[in-house]
């Protein structure tokens, strides 16, 4: 194909690849992509069919966390030596632990400790909170709890606005692209540690809603058609492990809370990797079902997990 017309001194695309080999390669590449998709699809179904949850119970929240994670194989199954781990609790509100507005500090601390014990190279804890981060980190007790470990590998950090990255969400139905926090995207493992509570617009906030803490931009706009958008986010961000804090659940006045009359102590911690199954189980704590909650239904429709708890293996439930 070299015809001597290119005098720019730089090779043209056509110089490097003739048409035929380009077409061949393109064809190979796309078939491979399709093949990979075909392989991935049954994997999804497989995951859904064999979803496993584990429930830890008791007033000793540390033991409840250890039991819950132990039920699905222990932390060593999810975290390997040297990995950079992000633990993402709910630290959204300027609200003390007993109100159930944030993940319980003992739950967060225990998970961080377990990751460190499993040999994690660094455990980063953060949230993009709704109230002032300095207040939520302090009032929630989470900053003090994690820093109390006095391990330089465990860090609680505030969001740094220089660390937002825009990403396309290939499987999304509504949210074509959005900004995500770099630390969450680049971590080797993301552990999602939500608290189960009532929510004004999504009825409940559980694990999928908690992922709003790793996204940026004008998050208020997520609320327009929020159910599909939450499912879209979950189609893009796949935590290695989900630990749902239901040690106490806020039944009304959420997500901020502030009225102890609305808080019920349930003494449960649920661990799993299937966000739809975890959230469906979470709904039962509020005498609801996954099918009652819009975003859980949408996530189930996208094949992100098992909404029917009769098909989920629940250990310790």
């Amino acid at each position: 194909m070299r015809d001597g017309k290119n005098r720019s001194g730089y090779p043209l695309f056509s110089d490097l690849l003739d048409r035929r080999s380009f077409l061949t390669r393109a064809l190979c590449a796309s078939s491979l992509t399709l093949l990979a998709g075909a392989v991935a699809l049954p994997e999804n179904l497989f995951a859904a069919a064999t979803s496993t949850l584990s429930v830890g119970k008791g007033t000793n929240y540390k033991n409840a966390v250890i039991d819950a994670i132990g039920g699905i194989g222990g932390i060593g199954k999810f975290i390997s030596g040297g990995e950079r781990v992000v633990v993402k609790p709910n630290i959204g509100w300027d609200s003390p632990p007993q109100y159930g507005g944030n993940t319980h500090p003992v739950v967060v601390k225990t998970i961080v400790e377990m990751c460190l014990d499993a040999g994690a190279g660094r455990v980063l804890v953060f949230d993009n909170p709704c109230d002032d981060a300095r207040r939520t980190y302090a009032t929630s007790g989470i900053k003090a709890a994690v820093e109390g470990l006095k391990n330089p590998k465990a860090k609680v950090e505030y969001i740094d606005d220089n660390k937002w990255l825009t990403r396309r969400l290939p499987r999304a139905k509504k949210l074509a692209e959005w900004t995500f926090y770099r630390e969450a995207l680049e971590a080797d493992k993301l552990i999602n540690v939500p608290v189960a509570k009532n929510h004004g617009s999504t009825t409940l906030t559980l694990s999928m809603k908690n992922l709003m803490g790793i996204i940026g931009s004008n998050r208020g706009q997520i609320h327009w058609g929020i159910d599909q958008k939450l499912a879209d986010i979950s189609s893009f961000i796949k935590p290695a492990l989900i630990v749902l804090d239901a040690t106490r659940v806020m039944l009304d006045g959420g997500p901020s809370g502030g009225n102890l009359g609305n808080v019920r102590v349930t003494n449960r911690v649920i661990a799993g990797i299937d966000p739809v199954a975890v959230d469906s189980y979470g709904a039962t704590l509020f005498s609801m079902k996954g099918t009652d909650i819009g975003h859980i239904v949408r996530a189930s429709e996208m094949g992100l997990g098992q909404i029917d708890l009769s098909k989920v293996r629940i250990i310790g439930g």
Partner: protein, 512 residues
């Protein structure tokens, strides 16, 4: 035996000036939320030694404020040794001394009378006595804190972020890591966690640069001719025990006058105690080493000689200021139906009592964690210029935060306990149904309800069976529960509707 002043080197004064300026800046930077409910070292200690703020607040509020007792100490020291505050302590004075070498001198032939500052002081105190408290507009400490809060600090912060931010974002090996570490370190020390940006930044910068630019005309132009705090100290210094030998310029020598930053001599060469800011430059410059400062046995008055006409004129214009401010319809509205955007900080006294105390130092704005407290231009009338108002679209009032009251030197904003703060109403929200998504476009949103911080939410949903969203879900229309709303404005701040929020807080807060 009179005590003699040492003959200090200029470096001694520089050291003390810079040290005090450094303390001032450190206290300024610590006047911010760093994780506790209490602010331990706010910059307001500087105001406690400010006799001008003390006197004008006393005149306007007719209340003795124990906060200001150290100002008596400054007054007493000034009575002993003169206007040392201006030459050795005042941060604005230090800034002017630092800036002067950088400004080419353009002395004009005509300058105002040095008495101008006394007339200005007379106007300020008369206005304080009969209506609002304007001292803060001209008080040098207020001017410095305000300029730093509204312009200086935001500029510094934006510059640092502008340089280091891109380095962090570009993800360059080594450079990004170090920039990230440096930025993190600065954020916990000299940079604000959350930088507020303020209205009136341009005006404040112009005033500040204007004061500095006047150095071109005469050294310490502001201190010589304008500063009302300087004027007050000068009046005290004029009757002080301070004694200078010789008491006038020597024949055929003008060195003292030339060396003097404040031209502390009358036209016929007599030393004016009130104008002297004790730089002691003349002691050093005297070719015959004749100049000696000491503390005399009894106070002796030297100057100022004020024009009676001007003084009476100042008092009258001060008196007229009250009626002049009252002819604006704003006054009427404030007294009757209120002004929508005139939302004062939580704990602020009633408007009249508030204006009699606020010295416009902008500490509340500096400390406000959301940056929602903004300097006012004319919302509350021209008498309220630089007083704080909450602009919820810029930043809301944090539910459990009581910092603005804690740092307010005059308690124009009272310090609230957290339980008091939780029930303090500063306004009420209302929903603009023409913009609110569920009402106007049939789209569920609920962001305002989600963020509403009160224990029992002041925003509920009205769900009418059969009314559905464009997606076919039950439509949830937010409604404000008037009695529960405290007007914190987080709903207005978080409302995702572009431009004007679909939920707006106004100053109306009467119980229904």
């Amino acid at each position: 035996m009179a005590q003699r002043f040492q003959n200090p080197t200029p470096s001694l004064r520089w050291t003390i000036q810079l040290l005090i300026l450094a303390i001032f800046l450190v206290l300024f930077i610590t006047t911010t939320y760093r994780g506790g409910d209490q602010i331990n070292y706010p910059i307001n200690v500087f105001f406690s030694i400010d006799p001008l703020a003390a006197l004008s607040t006393l005149a306007a509020s007719r209340e003795i404020n124990a906060f200001f007792w150290p100002s008596l100490l400054l007054a007493a020291l000034t009575l002993l040794i003169g206007r040392f505050f201006c030459g050795w302590v005042c941060p604005l004075g230090t800034i002017l001394d630092l800036a002067r070498p950088c400004i080419p001198a353009h002395p004009t032939r005509r300058v105002p009378s040095k008495n101008l500052k006394y007339y200005l002081l007379a106007i300020i105190l008369t206005v304080s006595l009969f209506s609002v408290n304007p001292a803060g507009i001209f008080d040098p400490l207020s001017i410095v804190v305000r300029s730093l809060t509204v312009v200086g600090y935001p500029l510094f912060s934006i510059t640092v972020h502008g340089v280091l931010g891109p380095l962090v974002r570009w993800d360059v090996p080594i450079a990004s890591g170090s920039a990230d570490a440096l930025l993190s370190a600065m954020k916990t020390t000299v940079l604000p966690f959350h930088q507020g940006y303020f209205f009136l930044a341009g005006l404040s910068l112009a005033i500040f640069l204007g004061i500095i630019a006047l150095e071109a005309v005469r050294p310490r132009f502001w201190c010589r001719y304008l500063c009302p705090l300087g004027a007050l100290l000068s009046l005290i210094a004029g009757v002080s025990f301070l004694k200078r030998k010789p008491a006038a310029l020597c024949a055929r020598c003008d060195k003292c006058r030339q060396a003097c930053d404040t031209d502390a001599f009358s036209t016929d060469g007599v030393f004016q105690k009130g104008e002297c800011i004790l730089t002691l430059d003349c002691v050093r410059q005297c070719p015959k080493k004749k100049v000696v400062y000491s503390i005399g046995r009894k106070p002796k008055r030297t100057g100022p000689v004020m024009s009676r006409r001007w003084l009476v004129g100042s008092l009258f214009s001060g008196l007229l200021m009250g009626p002049l401010l009252s002819i604006a319809p704003v006054r009427k509205l404030k007294d009757t139906l209120g002004i929508d955007a005139l939302i004062r900080p939580p704990g602020a006294r009633d408007e009249a009592a508030f204006l009699s105390r606020c010295i416009r130092c902008s500490e509340c704005m500096m400390v406000c964690p959301t940056g929602g407290l903004q300097p006012d231009l004319t919302t509350g009338g021209i008498e309220g210029i630089y007083c704080p108002i909450l602009v919820p679209r810029v930043g809301y009032c944090t539910y459990r935060c009581t910092l603005c009251g804690q740092v307010c030197p005059t308690q124009a904003i009272k310090t609230l306990t957290i339980p008091e703060k939780l029930v303090t109403v500063i306004g009420k929200a209302y929903i603009n149904m023409d913009r609110c998504l569920p009402y106007a476009y049939g789209v569920n949103c609920a962001v305002c309800q989600e963020h509403c911080p009160t224990a029992d939410k002041a925003i509920a949903f009205k769900e009418v069976p059969g009314e559905v969203t464009t997606d076919g879900d039950q439509l949830k229309k937010p409604v404000v529960i008037y009695d529960l709303c405290i007007g914190c404005g987080i709903c207005e701040f978080k409302c995702p509707v572009g431009g004007t929020s679909a939920i707006v807080v106004t100053s109306m807060k009467t119980q229904l």
